[in-house]
Symmetry: C2
Subunit: 229 residues, 2 copies
Amino acid sequence: MLFDVFGTVVDWRSSVARDVNEIAARHGITVDARAFADRWRALYQPAMLRVRLGEIPFVTLDVLHRQNLEQVLGEFSLDTLNEVEKADLNRAWHRLDPWSDVVAGLERLKQRYIIGTLSNGNIALIANMAKYARLPWDVILGAEIARAYKPQPEAYLGSAAALSLAPQQCMLVAAHNSDLQAAANCGFRTAFVARSLEHGPAQKTDLVAQGDYDIVAQGFADLATHLNC
Amino acid sequence: MLFDVFGTVVDWRSSVARDVNEIAARHGITVDARAFADRWRALYQPAMLRVRLGEIPFVTLDVLHRQNLEQVLGEFSLDTLNEVEKADLNRAWHRLDPWSDVVAGLERLKQRYIIGTLSNGNIALIANMAKYARLPWDVILGAEIARAYKPQPEAYLGSAAALSLAPQQCMLVAAHNSDLQAAANCGFRTAFVARSLEHGPAQKTDLVAQGDYDIVAQGFADLATHLNC
């Protein structure tokens, strides 16, 4: 059982906003921290696209986040941060809170399956997040192992291969239809878990399953029940 | 805290011998199963050396074990095994029992440190072994991540880099002086834990620490105590 992480497992928006608020307050600046988080996240796909298209060599998500952070700090008039503060804020992505159903659900699934990440996050990021959020992963896979970013097929196929499993023996759990469709195209089994607040109360995308998935679950407890865990 | 696995964490000799005995019994053959395990293990260094020297491209330990198995089966007159049996016996290395102090010691260390593997075993092997033996790793690193076999420096440096840590922030725990010396040369901190029965009661090597290590511990409980865990 391999899991998308950002949005599916953890609430990146509230967590990043919390850290942005904290550093802004230290500088006596008022900032729309959720808008900051949204903007930072919005720069993630174009940055990965440059890697996918081969415009730049593979670099980790920490590096892409750091490059994008410069731009967002400028846009939100927070560019007075020093280097140590910027490095710490970049690690906000290592300190993301899980959705409330996640840890108990993973513990149930772990009794029966290998549970791992299939994320675009790099190993250090996912490992630190797991310590912070008590996520009991058996294995950390994804972009850095495959040296390819989802939805490139290599990201899914490389993660299955690292476990010596056929794609058909793997299930991707994700809150994003595009991720699940790419995984299904590689032969993975699929489980959709809606996260209707990932992008805040006005979210319009990924509210419902838009594909013929093996499982559509209401959170990780329901997912574990579907799988008799 | 990064751990060598074969010998340091798990008792490969007894565990492999158990599976060899089982399959030999099914074929009505009597075999010196411990000698079989020793011989299979002895072929491991020369096989890795061919990778290290660049004679063959990087392949996983599962692949090297499988190639070596053919030779050992021939030497021990067990070459009547069919392909399914050979594949299953090769996975004996995924089903290794931990030394008795390991799981409790790791659980203590895990409360305070990231605990991971720095093994020449591939990800699938280490992940399956962890499920079998209930080893609570936070992260699986080592040869397959670095695409280099210990004691090549790239294996240690690549594992530290995957955690975004400097070598000085990492400690290798191992029962083998050569491994610890190579890690120390890369800047790692070091902990020696003697496993005087790894090679059976006649073991002559690695009975004592032969280096200026940060810690010399009597098992993983003592190691955890040294580190105030």
